[in-house]
Point group: C2
Chain length 685, copies 2
C-alpha cells in the first residue's frame, strides 16, 4: 500500500473508533479539537483532555492512538512563540506593513485577552510574540516610525533584557503612561488602531483622549491586524470543562443565579453581561483549564432577570455530564453568537449591565449601537464569590491541612539536606521548587500549582516577582536567606504561602528584620475590627514595626484568594490604596508583609486568613470581626529574635506553632513529625 | 428748632466730621456702611469697624456719634432671623406664592453661601430664616404641596426640635438623599428652581439628574426667590479687611502668586477662579471678619498666569494701608464685576480653571456660555496653604503656648472650684465655657474663638457636636465627666484642644475607656511613617485600643487646621475614608480620638500636631515623617489607668507632661504653677 493509502486506511479506522465512543466530526474534527487541546496548558493530568473525545473509559488502543496524535501535534509547535532577537524585527516590519495596508498610523498590543485575566492562553500572548517581553502585564504601542513597550516597576529590568532597544523604547507604565507618549508621538491626522476586545471600556476612553490630544483618532479594528501576520497563531484553547460539585461549591448554581438575578432586577437591569471567566465559573459551578494555574473556562455569559443564563462557549470543551449539571436554565451558544444576542437585547431596548473596569470595550460598543440601555456597574459575581460559604471554608481548611503537610515535609527535607551538606549545599532554586511541587503532588489531590513558584535564594529573594529560570537559577548558599512563595490548586481550595528560611546561620540584621516582618504579620493575624472596616484601614498595622526603623515594603499586605479559582481575586484587599470594599466574614485574604534588601536578601511571611465574626463580649458595642489563619506551616525560628516580640506576640507564635504541630503531626511521617515538634516548641522555652 | 431741623443739622455736622476724616459718601453712605457692619459678626473688638470710616485715631466725639448710630441700627435688628413656630408657616406660604409667580414647581434652599464655607453671614442664613433649623449643614426642598429638610446624623434631633413637622418632613441627608426624594416627589413637567450661586458644580449636576428622573427639570434662578420675600434680609457683611503681615505669613503674597501662577501655566490654564475666601486670604496675605470664627473676607479672585490678581470685593471693607499692602499687581473690582470679567475671559477663549467641588455652579455656567475653555481642577491654594512654612509654625507654637496658659489656668480654676464645692458644684456648662473664653481673652491677643466652645457635662458630653444653650445647659455634676472642646484665633495661629475631666471620682469604666482613648491618641502622636503616607492609612492606630474591646467612635481622628484661618481645613485629614492626600511636613492636623456612651458621658482627647521630618537614622531606607505635638495642656490623671499603658506609652505621657510643665510654669501664676506641677508629675511616681 502506498503511504497515502495507509494514511487513508488509518483515518477510516480512526473514524470508526471515534464513532463508537460517540465523537462527532470524525478525524478532521479530531484534528481541530487537538489543535485547541495543544493550545491549552499541559496541566498535571496529561490524559484529562481524553474526556473531550468520549465517555471514559475509552478503549486502550484508541487512547494510545489519540495520545500519539496529540504528541505529534504538540511536537510541531515551537517551545515558545515569544519573539527572539532573530525574528523580532521581521515581525514588527510585517505588522507595520499590515497597518499601512489598513491605513492605520499605529496599533496597540496589550498583554491581555478578551477577559482581562491575569493569565492568558498562548493564542493571546500577542505582546510576547511581537516584542519578546513575557511579563504578565504590559502594552506595546507601534507607530509607523517608532514603538514603545510600557511595563510597571517590577518588569523594568526584564523588558530591557527581552526586547530589542533599537525596535522598542522601554517605558514605565505608571511614571510615563502610554497616554502621554501617544499624545506626544502620534502624528496629527493619524488613525491609531486598537482591538476593542482587548481593552476595557475605561481603557479605551483614556486612549481615545490621548489620540485626540495628538490630533489623531482612535479606531476600533474589526479584526486584529497582528493576528493577520501571526501565521502560526494557535486557535483558542480547548480544555475540559467539568462540574464543580455542590459538595465543594456549597451553593447550587440555580440558587446563585436566582439571588443575583433578583438583586439585579431590583436595581433596574434586565440582564448582566459577564466577561470574567472566574465569575462565570463561580456562578455556574464549573471549572476549566484554558489558562495556566486558574481553573477557568474562557467564555462569556449573560444572566437574565429570571435567573436564566446564556452561556457563550465552545461546546467541544464540555465533558460528559456537564450539560446535565448545567440544567435547562443555562442555554449554551457558540462564542460567535454573543454579538447577535447583544444586538437582540438592544433591539428590544433592554437595560444591560456590564462592568466598565473589566469588560471589553467591544461589548459596550455593541450594546450601545444596538440601542440597549447600558448600565455601567461592577461585576455582580465578584462580591458574593469573595464571601466564601461554610462549605467552601471547610474545603479551604482541608486544602490547607493537605498543603501544610506538603510544605512541612519540604521544610523538613530542606532542613535535613542543609544540615547534612557541607559548605556547598548543592540545591538549586529550580530543584527546590520542583521538590516542593512533588510534595504537593504526593497528596494525589493537586490539580495545578496556583502560580509559578517564587524560589529565590540570596539576592534573588529581594526581587519581588522573581520567577526562576535556567539563567537566573542559583544554588542555596550558607549564610543566605531563601524565600519560597508557592501554592496549590485543589478541588476544595486554593493555597498561597510564603516562608523565609535561614540557610545556615543568619546575621543579626536578618533576624531583626525578619522579626519585624513577623510582628507585622502577627498584627494582622490578631487584628479585631468593626464590621465595615476596609482592608486599607488596617494595612498600616503590618508596617508599623518596620516604620519604626525607617523600613517598608513596596507591595500590598494582602490580596483576595478564590475557592479553587484565582489565587488573586477581588474586590477585597489589604493595601495602602483603598478599594473601599469592607472585609466581610468568609472572605479569604493573604497576610504577607515583607522586607527586601536589594542585592542581598528578601523576607516575606505569608499565611492566608479568612474573616470571621469575633463575637460581642459583654460590654462591647460594635459588631467585631477578626481573622482565622488558614495556612499551617512553621516559621523559621532561627530568624525570630524573641526579645523583639511582646508577650502577646510570643504567645501568638507559640499558639500558632502548637496548632500547626497538633494538626499536621498525625499526617506526616515520623521523621518529619520529630522535626516539626522541634521547630514548633515554645519560643521562650 | 423742630425735630426735623435738629436731625438735619445733626446730619450736616456729621457730614462735615466725616469729610474731615476722609470718609466718602456722607451720612447716607455711612448708613449703608453701618447696615453692612451690623450684618457682620460682632467680634471681640467692638470698635474694629471704626477703621472703615477713617484713619485712626478718629476724634473722640465722632467715635461716640458713630458708636451710637451703630448701636441704634443694631438694636433695630431681630436677635435672630430664624423662623419661629409663629411665623414659619407664613414665610413658607410667601415663598410658595413667589415660586408660583415665577412658574416654578419647587425651590432648593441649602445652608450655604456663594463660597461654601463652614460659617455663613447672617444674610445667607436662608435655611434658618425659612425653616427655623440653625444647624451648620442642611438643605430644604420646597415643592408646591410638600417640603422637606435634609440633615445629617448629628442634626436629626435638632431638626425635629426646630422645625414644624406639619410644614417640613425631616429627612436624613445620607440615608435618604434629596436626589431620591426629588426624583420621587417632583411632579412631571415641573421646573425645580435653584440658586446657582449656592450650589457647587458637582451638586447642581446631581440635582439635575434627580429632576430629570422625575420628568421635570432643574432651572437656575437669576435672583433668589427667597430673597424676594425676606423683607428684612441683611445686606452682605462689611467687616474690616486687614493685612496679614509678612512676619506672620512667612511668605509674601507676591511670591505665593508667582509660584502658583507658574504651576498653573505649566498645566495649561491661563487663569484660575478662586471662590474660597480662605484661599484668597492665604494668597493675598489678608484677613477679614465677615463670618463668625474664621478671619476671612467674603470675595472672589482670579489669579492670572503672570501672577496678577483681579480681586472682587466691596472696597468699603478696606482698612487704611490695605491697598498699599496689596500692591499694584492686585486689581480691586466690585463684586458685581466678576461676571463681565468671566465673559471677557470667555470671549478671548482663555483656559480658566475652577474647582467643581467648591466653586458655585454659576461660575462654570458663566465661563462655559462665554466660550472659555473650562478646566475643572481642585483649588490650587489648598495644598500650599496646608503646608505651613517655618514662620507660620513658629507662630503656631507661640499661639499654643499662649493658649496652653489659658487652658491650664482654666483647668486649675475648675479643679479648685470642684475641690472647694460640696455636692453641688454650681458651675454650669455656659459658665465654664465663658470662664475659659475669659482666660483666653486675658492674653490680650485673642481675636476670636475658633469655634463655639463644646462644653458638655455628663450625657451632654456624649453628643458629638454639642452646643450648649440656655435650654440644654447643665451643671457640672460630681461623679460625672466634663468634656470641653475649644480653641482660639490668634494672629499667629489657630488652636483647637479638647480635654475630658473627671468631676470628683470617676468610675473604673470611665478610667478604662479614657485610657483606651489616650492610647489611641498616643499611637498617633508617636507614629512614624514614610513620606507619601495618607492620613487614612494611620487612622486605625487611634482606634486599635478601642477595637480590642469592641468599641469605636463615629468621627474622624483628625482634621487640618489653618494658620489664623479656618479651624477645619483640607485637603489632609486622618479618617477612615481616605482623601488620598499625603501628610506632608508643615501640615497641622488634630489628633482627637474619642469614645461616647450615649446618655452617660463623652470622652475626647485632642491635641493639634504638625507633621515633621523624622530624620533618617543609620540603616534606615525610607524618608520618614512624624508628628510634633503643638498643644500644651495636662491630661486629667484621675482618668488614666497606668496599668493599661505600655512602658512606651507611659514614657510618652510623662515626657509630654514634663514639657507642658516646663513650658507653661514660668507663664502662669504661682497657684496655677503649683497645681500644674502636681498634675504633671510622672504617672508611675
Amino acid at each position: 500500500m502506498s503511504d497515502h493509502e495507509t494514511r487513508q486506511e488509518g483515518e477510516e479506522s480512526l473514524d470508526t473508533d471515534l464513532k463508537k465512543v460517540g465523537f462527532q466530526g470524525g478525524s478532521a474534527g479530531l484534528r481541530a479539537l487537538l489543535e485547541g487541546v495543544v493550545a491549552a496548558p499541559e496541566g498535571l493530568d496529561p490524559d484529562a483532555w481524553l474526556a473531550l473525545v468520549g465517555d471514559p473509559p475509552l478503549p486502550a488502543d484508541l487512547k494510545a492512538k489519540l495520545r500519539a496524535l496529540k504528541a505529534d501535534m504538540a511536537s510541531a509547535l515551537p517551545p515558545s512563540f515569544a519573539a527572539t532577537p532573530e525574528n523580532a524585527a521581521g515581525r514588527l516590519a510585517a505588522l507595520r506593513a499590515e497597518l499601512a495596508r489598513r491605513g492605520l498610523g499605529g496599533f496597540l498590543i496589550p498583554r491581555a485577552d478578551e477577559h482581562q485575566g491575569e493569565y492568558v492562553a498562548r493564542r493571546a500572548d500577542r505582546l510576547a510574540w511581537l516584542t519578546g517581553f513575557t511579563g504578565s502585564a504590559g502594552l506595546a504601542v507601534v507607530l509607523a516610525d517608532t514603538a514603545a513597550v510600557f511595563v510597571d516597576g517590577r518588569y523594568v529590568l526584564q523588558v530591557r533584557n527581552q526586547t530589542d532597544g533599537a525596535l522598542y523604547q522601554p517605558q514605565h507604565l505608571i511614571e510615563a503612561p502610554p497616554q502621554d507618549w501617544i499624545a506626544a508621538k502620534l502624528p496629527a491626522g493619524a488613525r491609531l488602531g486598537f482591538d476593542p476586545w482587548l481593552h476595557t471600556d475605561a481603557q479605551a476612553a483614556a486612549l481615545e483622549k490621548a489620540a485626540e490630544k495628538a490630533g489623531g483618532e482612535l479606531t476600533a479594528c474589526d479584526d486584529n491586524p497582528l493576528d493577520a501576520v501571526w501565521a502560526d497563531q494557535p486557535p483558542p484553547p480547548l480544555a475540559p470543562v467539568v462540574p464543580h460539585p455542590l459538595e465543594l461549591a456549597g451553593e447550587s448554581a440555580a440558587d446563585k443565579r436566582k439571588a443575583l438575578a433578583e438583586a439585579m432586577s431590583a436595581k433596574g437591569a434586565d440582564a448582566v453581561v459577564l466577561s470574567l471567566p472566574d465569575s462565570i465559573a463561580w456562578l455556574l459551578n464549573v471549572r476549566g483549564a484554558d489558562v495556566p494555574h486558574v481553573p477557568l473556562a474562557l467564555s462569556f455569559a449573560i444572566l437574565h432577570g429570571d435567573g436564566r443564563v446564556d452561556w457563550f462557549i465552545d461546546r467541544r470543551k464540555f465533558t460528559p455530564g456537564l450539560a446535565a449539571h448545567l440544567g435547562d436554565q443555562v442555554a449554551v451558544h457558540p462564542p460567535e453568537a454573543l454579538g447577535p444576542v447583544l444586538d437582540q437585547m438592544g433591539g428590544e431596548g433592554r437595560a444591560a449591565q456590564a462592568d466598565p473596569a473589566t469588560a471589553a470595550a467591544w461589548i459596550f460598543e455593541r450594546l450601545e449601537s444596538a440601542g440597549a440601555e447600558v448600565i455601567k456597574a461592577s461585576d455582580p459575581c465578584q462580591l458574593p464569590k469573595a464571601k466564601k460559604n461554610p462549605v467552601e471554608l471547610d474545603g479551604a481548611r482541608q486544602a490547607h491541612r493537605r498543603d501544610g503537610v506538603a510544605l512541612t515535609r519540604f521544610l523538613a527535607w530542606l532542613s535535613r539536606k542543609v544540615g547534612e551538606a557541607g559548605d556547598n549545599i548543592g540545591i538549586s532554586e529550580i530543584e527546590a521548587a520542583d521538590r516542593l511541587a512533588g510534595f504537593r503532588a504526593d497528596s494525589g489531590e493537586l490539580r495545578d500549582l496556583s502560580f509559578d513558584t517564587i524560589s529565590g535564594s540570596g539576592p534573588n529573594g529581594a526581587i519581588m516577582h522573581y520567577r526562576v529560570d535556567e539563567k537566573s537559577n542559583r544554588r542555596l548558599g550558607r549564610g543566605e536567606l531563601y524565600l519560597v512563595d508557592s501554592g496549590g490548586q485543589y478541588a476544595d481550595g486554593t493555597t498561597d504561602v510564603t516562608r523565609t528560611l535561614a540557610i545556615g546561620t543568619p546575621t543579626a540584621e536578618m533576624r531583626e528584620r525578619n522579626t519585624r516582618v513577623l510582628k507585622g504579620h502577627i498584627a494582622i493575624a490578631r487584628a479585631r475590627f468593626p464590621r465595615g472596616t476596609a482592608g486599607s484601614q488596617i494595612d498600616s498595622l503590618a508596617r508599623l514595626a518596620l516604620w519604626q526603623v525607617g523600613l517598608d515594603y513596596d507591595h500590598g499586605t494582602g490580596h483576595g484568594v478564590g475557592s479553587f479559582l484565582g489565587v488573586h481575586e477581588g474586590p477585597q484587599r489589604i493595601s495602602k490604596a483603598g478599594s473601599g470594599t469592607a472585609l466581610e466574614p468568609g472572605m479569604i485574604v493573604s497576610n504577607e508583609p515583607g522586607y527586601y534588601k536589594e542585592g542581598a536578601y528578601g523576607i516575606r511571611i505569608e499565611n492566608l486568613v479568612t474573616v470571621v465574626e469575633s463575637g460581642k463580649q459583654p460590654g462591647e458595642e460594635k459588631d467585631m470581626l477578626a481573622f482565622e489563619t488558614l495556612t499551617l506551616a512553621p516559621f523559621d525560628r532561627a530568624l525570630i529574635d524573641a526579645a523583639l516580640l511582646s508577650g502577646e506576640e510570643t504567645a501568638w507564635v507559640d499558639a500558632y506553632h502548637a496548632r500547626v504541630r497538633e494538626t499536621l503531626s498525625p499526617l506526616v511521617d515520623q521523621e518529619t513529625a520529630a522535626w516539626l515538634a522541634e521547630v514548633t516548641r515554645p519560643l521562650t522555652a
